[in-house]
Symmetry: C2
Subunit: 450 residues, 2 copies
């Protein structure tokens, strides 16, 4: 059923207070779709719809809601209702929710849970946001090395209901140190008496709790993993990150870099639901900073005020020249920022990239100079046309080199390369463009600067 | 082992021509890592290293190489060597490679393969790039509905070596119509005599061969699927797309949108390996187009030449004002482009977004106007300061509204919203900015336009 139609039906059924009708309606709806529909309802109706689901599905649907809405809904629930739903949530989603609750809510929630869940929440909720620890789950399957394939499958069968995945199991010793990994596929294919230690892969790819979520997602993507085991400082296995969470991270990190590319700070929430104040806050810093950055262009213009007064026609080409420099620079910066983010390019590639960029930018500048020189002749005569053409080639090269180098420089000094946003590059390129333009004009038109 | 160190060892071992040493060295290396190392070698050495691997791993490593390098290497192989490696590749990677080979190579390859592989290649290679058909694999597991859980597991066990995944199987009738889906987890948990038709999920989420790869990846991400079944026009199951391929699509589409955001056309290859001509071609179109776009700003300036001649001080604030308009517009455009791409925002949200944008942009413009008005007073007196402040608020609002609306307009007329790049928005905002600035100046300073 289409989401829109489903939303309509849910609303209608809620209005009739027909509990069994509601159950029937929601039976075959995927939790991800249902969460989309519920997200549009008031907390009261949201809870009525959730109550019509069996506990597992209720918790799963709840887990698909945006975290802010989980918190809003949690606020309207009794301690018992909240504990019930939290009990059935997956370990990583539970910890995420817990971290967003007020201290009061946290304190109200914990006594309602069993000791095991309490410890688990405390453990997972302690990791810094953006790290492997913060996105991992503790619902993973482990095996002892001496088990036979048949015993291992039997064990996984019993464990399955509580585990995020049983397709990948981790073999650990008594100290929870990671000895190997074995897939369910290998267990099923193996002779039933073969031991896990003979079947397991010993060179296990793993990450550490403090590793960045971006790198963890990158490893899962690179090695096509179903899950990546996470190790703590004591070399003990403490969790796994699954491919579906990695996929969310890839999307989330791309969005963050995207926003940064336009000098918007990291938005923690969806653009759709972001409020006025949040959007203002995330955009104002760079805008104001860049206003002052643009003063350099203004200062450059002021320095050449006499040149301009003598040749007002020069101003005609100003937006075009500084704009072109900024555009070429934005292209170069964006290509590098993304290539650095995906690992396509590394710091040490800078030299080689620079040489190529010089060639490409030179060719681009030349093309643009030719394209505009006709207009130059018509508007200002051949001398002005020459000034415009020389300036165009020069500023496109300079803009491009600034654009492609800035991400490397930022990366080198451990800043986020994505800070090399199109607006920042354009602002720098503008200032340089003004100086080059009027500098070239003064030289060619043989005017002394003021 | 670190990639750098591994590359070193591989080079050294190749130099000594020690075949068994090479085998030992490569034994435990992940194919994804090995491919990174091989990508730096000459085709001859690449092939020598690949030859040291068992056929399956050789094909897997080969599959991890960038497609261009696969093609380059294929060119140096004998017909038999190529057929051998192609035979062991996964169905989707095989079809991708086939599509990039020259017609000659294709004709040389096909006779070397068995009928089944030939048909499979022809079938998969026929789908348009960017569609579900082009990224799906035909190596999926199917089950008959009457099988018991025990029989189904036994069947999957026999099929496993040739299948991309056995964790998700698809239940089909005699006409290959999709009846349901069942996970290995459910098969293992079920009583062994229970029939597949009783265990399967009947409401299977699926896509069609012609669906866009972006949407397919979005479904896999949204529903946390391991694989998504793909149906053809005759309603028959013809393939699956797995989560790892979906992850690659998510990254690839994000990169494409990223590049578009800086008005760079879609690069089919990595930035690192892109040549001079390719980069030039992908960047030149928009740059030249925007040069002519910027002529509108120039024309605006020319129209107000007398105003400028009378108040040369006005030019000081020009870059700052038009830059601010473009920066705010870029922010607004990028927020919308990304939100439309991830499905966070839809076409029908435009009205609501517009109202909020008006408020946010007004507040931003006011903040920036206040920030700059001190400089206005110092440089040009209170009248000029007033002109600058009024212009700032106006152009930031206009720039933002253009920036946020353009992606919706493009989307509405079935263009890619990502075409609303920062440079395009900045160019439009520039032209509007010039008109507003000198228009306000003429009014406030009571100068007649030329």
């Amino acid at each position: 059923m289409e989401i829109q139609a489903l939303a309509e039906s849910v609303r209608e059924t809620l209005a009739t207070h027909d509990a069994s009708g509601l159950r029937t309606l929601l039976e075959d709806v995927h939790p991800a779709d249902l969460a989309l529909v519920l997200a549009e309802l008031e907390p009261r109706d949201m809870w009525r719809a959730l109550s019509a689901l069996p506990p597992d599905e209720r918790a799963e649907t709840f887990g698909y809601l945006p975290t802010e809405q989980q918190v809003d809904l949690a606020r309207t629930l009794t301690r018992k209702q909240l504990a019930d739903i939290v009990f059935h949530m997956s370990a990583d989603e539970r910890a995420d929710l817990f971290n967003r609750l007020s201290q009061e809510q946290q304190e109200a929630l914990l006594p309602g849970l069993a000791q095991a869940e309490r410890d688990d929440i405390r453990r997972l909720a302690g990791y810094e946001e953006g790290t492997a620890g913060a996105i991992m789950t503790s619902d993973y399957a482990t095996l002892a090395p001496q088990l036979t394939a048949r015993e291992a499958i039997e064990w996984l069968r019993r464990e399955a209901p509580d585990k995020e995945t049983i397709y990948q199991s981790y073999v650990i010793d008594a100290d929870r140190r990671l000895l190997g990994a074995v897939s369910l596929r290998d267990l099923i294919l193996a002779p039933s008496a073969r031991r896990v230690e003979e079947l397991m892969v010993r060179e296990v790819i793993f990450a550490r709790v403090e590793d960045e979520q971006e790198d963890v997602a990158g490893m899962i993507s690179k090695y096509d993993l179903l899950a990546l085991p996470i190790i703590n400082g004591g070399e003990k296995l403490v969790g796994i990150v699954t491919y579906d969470d990695a996929m969310d991270v890839v999307e989330q990190e791309a969005t963050e870099d995207f926003h940064k590319a336009a000098s918007v700070d990291h938005l923690e929430t969806s653009v759709r639901d972001a409020g006025f104040r949040l959007l203002y806050r995330k955009r104002v810093f760079w805008l104001v900073l860049l206003v002052f950055g643009n003063l350099f262009s203004g200062a450059g213009i002021a320095y050449f005020e006499d040149t301009i007064a003598a040749y007002v026609a020069l101003v005609f080409f100003l937006p075009l020249l500084v704009g072109s420099s900024g555009n070429a620079g934005s292209q170069a910066a964006t290509l590098m920022v993304r290539a650095l983010a995906t690992g396509d390019v590394e710091l040490r590639d800078w030299g080689r990239m620079l040489g190529r960029e010089l060639l490409v930018a030179g060719a681009l500048g030349l093309t643009m100079a030719i394209a505009i020189s006709g207009v130059g002749v018509i508007r200002g005569g051949s001398e002005i046309a020459a000034v415009v053409a020389i300036t165009m080639v020069t500023v496109v090269i300079i803009g491009s080199l600034i654009g492609m180098s800035l991400p490397f420089v930022l990366n080198r000094f451990r800043f986020d390369p994505a800070t090399a946003s199109a607006p920042l590059v354009a602002t720098i390129a503008d200032a340089v463009g003004v100086l080059v333009y009027f500098g070239v004009a003064s030289a060619v038109l043989q005017l002394p600067p003021s």
